[in-house]
């Protein structure tokens, strides 16, 4: 027996001994860091080329001057920081120290900045609009946040919700339809848009009700129901789009929710335009994330919901109505996703189109898993996807030498890296997809 083994139990708590060292995270961070160093550090245009970041918008309270940095030096410095962080991570593994989420977060920010510096190097005409990038992040993340919150609500009570996509689409459809009908009869577009926003959760709740009917009452496999409901909603909305909406164009017009800048707050540079100059749906999103996070983990209701999702029999024994809880949560979750569906039509000022959610429901599902079934995590994961999407749009504007298809791939590749390298094995609620039979 070696000296370290005999000493270890005294020096450290017993838990640490059994854990095998996993080098996966430092290796992935290191390899990606090196690739970034070569691609974006060394390949960045040198010789005095600069990159300009713009932070302020015209009507801010005060102006933050644009930041101009020497491109190559900055990019190299940033990627070296990333590689150093991979080293810190390796040190943590070696010494069995747990390193918090700050490390991958800082790592990610460093790499993203390096890529931005690379993309904007030597461009005198264009600059990187950091604020615009962040506004895009919040906006593009909105449907994902609603979708993954819906998934969290359902799955915490033990119902797998693959039907997020369908709930989003149903919400988008009904919001457009109702907004069109109300605005053409009252003549007020913004009033119509608000009524559409109210109608959207009803459509989502209906899909949720169908899911709970089949899952709770008829004990059908929940994944089957979810997948099939998605197809059903695509079929129904496309059918009515091709018949009802085509014959009555006034029922499907581009009607948008007005922007509601919050006084003073919206004029703070960077934060203002990003957070406080949005429409009603985004403000609702803030509220719902906060309320759900508190309710799910700090309230009696939340404890009951989670107990139903983890151990329904125990919950039933102490008098919690398992199936009633599940039905309520599934319908509520559907309503939340339906509300998120309004993003595609009334909140974006677009008319409804066939399959216009374009797989966002599945991305929301991934965000839910990545966020480990918590509203807070769902928000973070959704913002990550939103940011990747926004980055792609920004690159599309400034134009880079990377083929656009690879830029489009970026968020998906990043997700695969995240789930394989950083998150690893996640544990869903234990009673998921198991019907409760007394």
């Amino acid at each position: 027996m070696t000296a370290t083994l005999t000493e270890a139990p005294q020096a450290q708590p017993a838990v640490d001994i059994e854990v095998a060292r996993s080098w996966r995270t430092p290796i992935i961070l290191g390899v990606v860091g090196l690739i970034a160093f070569v691609l974006f550090g060394l390949m960045t245009e040198g010789g005095g080329a600069t990159t300009t970041f713009v932070l302020s918008r015209p009507n801010d309270l005060f102006t933050i001057p644009a930041i101009t940095v020497p491109a190559q030096a900055t990019a190299i410095a940033l990627t070296v920081i990333a590689i150093a962080l991979a080293g810190v991570s390796a040190w943590g593994v070696q010494n069995r120290r747990k390193i918090g989420m700050w490390l991958p977060t800082v790592y990610g920010i460093a790499l993203v900045l390096a890529v931005l510096v690379w993309a904007g190097a030597g461009r005198t005409a264009t600059s990187i609009q950091l604020t615009g990038l962040l506004i895009g992040t919040v906006v593009l993340a909105t449907p994902l946040v609603f979708g993954s919150l819906a998934g969290t609500l359902c799955e915490r009570s033990g119902i797998v919700n693959i039907a997020i996509e369908g709930q989003l689409l149903a919400g988008a459809f009904l919001a457009a339809l109702v907004a069109g009908a109300v605005s053409s009869s009252t003549g007020s577009d913004s009033f119509g848009a608000y009524v559409g926003l109210v109608a959207a959760p009803i459509a989502g709740a209906l899909v949720g009700a169908a899911l709970s009917l089949f899952a709770v009452r008829y004990w059908v496999d929940q994944i089957v129901v979810g997948v099939v409901l998605n197809v059903l909603v695509v079929g129904l909305t496309s059918f009515f789009f091709g018949t009802l909406m085509r014959e009555n164009p006034e029922l499907n017009r581009a009607i948008g929710l007005p922007d509601l800048p919050i006084p003073v707050l919206s004029r703070i540079p960077v934060i203002g335009p990003v957070l406080f100059d949005q429409n009603m749906l985004v403000y609702l999103m803030y509220a719902i994330v906060i309320v759900l996070n508190i309710m799910l983990f700090k309230s009696r209701w939340g404890l009951r919901v989670r107990s139903v999702g983890e151990h329904p029999k125990a919950a039933d024994t102490v008098g919690i109505k398992v199936n009633r809880t599940r039905v309520r949560n599934t319908i509520l979750g559907g309503a939340v996703a339906g509300l998120g569906g309004a993003f595609f039509t009334v909140a974006s000022g677009l008319a409804f189109n066939k399959e216009m959610t374009g797989g966002k429901g599945y991305i929301a599902l991934a965000a839910m898993i990545l966020g480990r079934w918590s509203p807070k995590g769902a928000l973070a994961a959704a913002l990550l996807f939103g940011f990747a999407d926004s980055l792609r749009e920004q690159f599309g504007i400034i134009g880079t030498s990377i083929p656009s298809q690879f830029l489009a791939m970026l968020p998906y590749l990043a997700t695969i890296f995240a789930v394989a390298g950083l998150v690893g094995h996640v544990r869903p609620p234990a009673a998921e997809n198991i019907p409760y039979k007394k």
Partner: protein, 403 residues
């Protein structure tokens, strides 16, 4: 009794029950009534969408019979168009025209059979693989490239192109498999993401000179060399090709794999209870990788049946259509069993084939087919609902439903 034998017995018992269960629940009557209920709901949609009915409704109280006549006409128009588009075109002048719809249904069913079989293996091993779409794309892309860029003798070229397709699909199944087995990455996330990666990859490939027709800037590849195309099996008048027979053979192969081979037994054991399988000494990670790779290979076959068969005029970004997603429903409807998958694929192939006729002859959006398809799956999955709708007495073994 060793641990392995105990697990064996547990799996056998579970399968015995599920066979009984299948007979009990998919009794012909329930299936037939599920189809009837779906068709009735579809008919309601058709009536709602019909402008003639709306017009007749305007004077409903003076001549109510007109409304019903218009509704009946709309419904029969839609469903006869579907029948003529997918089974037998009795209006056709020649035998070829009459018989063609049935072969079209089988042609459409072919990729669904392949991909559905692969997904079914995954479902039985407890893996929810949504990645068939990406796997079909990769298979079609690589197989297609071998098909148009290589120059090989007749026979060999087809075989090499098929193998390339299968390898392409298998690679796209292997990635989520190994990430799940080695890093615990959730297969649902990874397969969804790989679908998007594949879609972008084919879009990129089609923008390069290697894939584009010379002197053209269209995102379309040159046609597949005739030496690499699946031979037509019913002559030049029909599109049905050899890949359909291969699909049927694959169904037998999957049946043998899952029911008769050690590997299939391991897959099922892992699906039934991964922990027990590990205790019994089975290599769970290897099984996961195996399942995903085989599923990917079968989807790669589906890709080959597209690019080397019906889509042989050239590779496009839409080569996979929506087959990858439809195959999920097919596998679920077929209860992940080979025979069930083949039947479900032919049913859905028929629905797909009926689309154009529905649009042209009945003037309806093809999307109504999606509604009817999904309703059928829902109703078949919930026999108690069907019995309730038709006021049938509940059988003694009621309410046993699973995937």
């Amino acid at each position: 009794m060793s641990a392995e034998q105990t697990t064996a017995k547990a799996v056998e018992e579970q399968d015995d029950r599920s066979v009984l269960r299948q007979i009990a629940e998919s009794s012909g009557l329930v299936v037939a009534l599920a189809v009837v209920a779906s068709i009735v709901i579809g008919a309601i949609l058709v009536v709602l969408a019909s402008p003639e009915v709306e017009e007749a409704l305007g004077y409903f109280f003076s001549r109510p019979a007109d409304t019903f006549a218009a509704a009946w006409e709309a419904i029969t128009g839609a469903y006869t168009a579907m029948f003529r588009g997918s089974v037998w075109n009795y209006n056709g002048d020649t035998f070829v025209q009459q018989f063609r719809p049935l072969t079209e249904s089988l042609t459409m069913a072919t990729p669904l059979i392949f991909a559905g079989l692969g997904l079914g293996i995954g479902f039985r091993a407890g893996l929810f693989n949504i990645g068939a779409q990406g796997q079909i794309i990769m298979g079609a892309m690589i197989g297609g490239w071998v098909g148009f860029a290589w120059d090989l003798p007749w026979g060999l070229h087809l075989i090499v192109a098929i193998i390339a397709s299968v390898l392409g699909g298998a690679l796209w199944g292997f990635i989520p498999g190994i990430l799940k087995a080695k890093a615990g990455a959730h297969e649902v996330i990874v397969t969804i993401m790989l679908n998007y990666v594949a879609a972008n990859l084919i879009a990129y490939a089609l923008s390069t000179d290697a894939f584009q027709l010379e002197g053209s800037d269209n995102p379309k590849s040159p046609p597949i060399a005739e030496t690499a195309q699946y031979p037509l099996i019913l002559g030049d008048s029909f599109r049905l090709n050899l890949s359909f027979l291969l699909a049927i053979a694959a169904a037998f192969g999957v049946w043998w794999l899952m029911e008769r081979s050690t590997w299939g037994f391991r897959f099922r054991a892992v699906g039934a209870n991964a922990r027990a399988a590990r205790t019994a000494g089975m290599n769970v990670p290897l099984s996961i990788i195996g399942v995903m790779t085989i599923a990917g290979a079968l989807s790669g076959f589906a890709g080959s049946s597209q690019i080397l068969g019906t889509e042989s005029s050239g590779l496009t970004a839409g080569v996979a259509g929506s087959f990858g997603f439809d195959a999920i429903t097919v596998a679920l409807l077929g209860r992940s069993r080979p025979l069930g998958t083949v039947m479900a694929a032919i049913l859905f192939g028929g629905f797909k084939a009926s689309g154009p006729a529905l649009q042209v002859q009945a003037g309806l959006p093809v999307d109504i087919v999606l509604v009817i398809q999904s309703l059928i799956v829902l109703f078949i999955a919930a026999p108690p609902l069907v019995r309730f709708l038709f006021r049938l007495p509940a059988p003694s073994r009621e309410k046993v439903v699973a995937a």
